[in-house]
Symmetry: C2
Subunit: 281 residues, 2 copies
């Protein structure tokens, strides 16, 4: 287990690996690791000589300071979990000042409109924050492959676009959503749910499951009505948005076209905890 806190040290270590012809897989995380992250790490371990996991709660991607403050930080536990997977994982755990060279702020990006939908609308500055940190991480780690979960599906497409626009020689690998036994999408935020919120949260995936069933038979307007009403009925949950969007450009659609692939996207609050999920239709 190698641990790096300093960018320059990690850069020379990776240089060395590359000179020895080793392939590098990379899993960027904000820590508070769960089975969702581990699925990414396992995928990387399978297909690369070396795997780098970054653990960095990036301040610039939080639009809400309270959310940043409350985001779970469990570094020692994270290290132990990674150790159980493979003892050769390289951990990059920078502090924000070293990472940003003392200038903690986001660049501004244009992702051809991907950044304007859904999360882009509801979390101003979020994707600039994400793209800034991922681009910097890519410059430091220079992986052959980088792994992202489909839970943050819009983020996944944005990272693919970033790599394309910046012409980076990195393969972006998408890994399906990992779910708890009751269907709740795994997320570090789930730890913050109180027992009733945790149980209630299973409702989100059950509604999405019904959406999958209904999608073949009902128009999108009726399905949206169903979701908003069903969510409004639940006393522990509050919907932020529900969209059915084209899987390629994430533009919300109101009518299906044959041949296109769609996904349903939802964000729901349980108390002040923001839960995100999506399913392929």
């Amino acid at each position: 287990m190698k641990e790096f806190r300093n960018k320059t040290d990690l850069i020379s270590y990776i240089n060395n690996l590359k000179q020895n012809g080793q392939s590098v897989g990379f899993v960027p995380t904000m820590g508070a690791l769960h089975q969702g992250h581990l699925a990414l790490v396992k995928e990387s371990l399978k297909n690369n000589d070396q795997t780098v996991v970054s653990i960095f709660v990036n301040p610039t991607q939080f639009d809400n300071p309270e959310d940043l403050k409350k985001y779970p930080r469990t570094y020692q536990a994270d290290k132990s979990i990674l150790k159980t997977l493979d003892n050769n994982i390289i951990i990059y755990h920078p502090d924000a000042n070293n990472f940003y060279d003392g200038n903690i702020k986001s660049d501004h990006f244009n992702f051809d409109g991907l950044e304007l939908e859904m999360e882009g609308k509801h979390r101003p500055g979020h994707f600039d924050g994400v793209a800034t940190v991922v681009k910097k991480l890519f410059e430091t780690v220079r992986p052959d492959r980088a792994y992202f979960g489909e839970k943050d599906f819009q983020q996944l497409l944005i990272i693919k676009k970033l790599v394309k626009k910046e012409n980076l020689p990195i393969e972006i690998v998408a890994v399906p959503i990992q779910r708890e036994s009751d269907g709740l999408a795994m997320s570090s935020r789930n730890k913050r749910l109180n027992p009733l919120q945790r149980l209630s949260a299973s409702y989100i995936y059950h509604i999405l499951t019904q959406v999958r069933y209904l999608f073949e038979y009902y128009d999108i307007v009726s399905i949206k009505k169903f979701v908003y009403e069903a969510m409004a009925a639940h006393p522990e949950l509050k919907i932020e948005y529900f969209e059915i969007a084209d899987e390629k450009n994430l533009k919300p659609v109101t009518r299906k076209k044959s041949g296109n692939k769609y996904r349903a996207f939802i964000v729901v609050y349980a108390g002040d905890i923001r839960l995100i999920d999506n399913v392929a239709l």
Copy 2:
């Protein structure tokens, strides 16, 4: 495998068993057997020397002639299924005229108010029909134990009351609801659901599951509001009723008292197919 169609023949066969000191378990069914029935039969096989399964679509317990007409009848398949469980099961498959001695109608019963709630309200004459047929079956089979599923929980309490009122030496054994992998309570009627209705029907149990979670924290008025609104949102389902009732007397309650046990009861239509379910709270 012994099969009886004639009441008198079965009576003498049972007489013989009794004289030989054999205990008799009894599972009354309307056929179209599924894992729910088989759970009852297995329970009987475990605890009795002989098991009688009746297969009889009793006309007098249907308040709706269309429902009676469409009730699935699959006698040959039922026989094969029972054979796989145990080759010594005794099947009683009467025709209605022989069973009712030519006079197909119900007696009238008083079950101290149990018969007036929920199913009693929504299916006039149903419990008179059930009690009439079960009483006649008990007189013919004279079991030591009879097995009933908790899916028809009100029926179960009514049969217990019948046995008590009529002073019958029969132990009524309750068997928990058997569910499909998506939670839908097993029922012969499920066969009639079209693919979308079948998938949608899983919503019922998911809503009941949420009710179980919410019950500890919310008042009953809020929970009923949740269920009615969540069911109203679903385009494939239509709620007939939802009640939270005392497990002993089935009186619907609006306020919890500590020490009492409650159950949530629901009836939902998918098209013209009536689906019933309940959960302990």
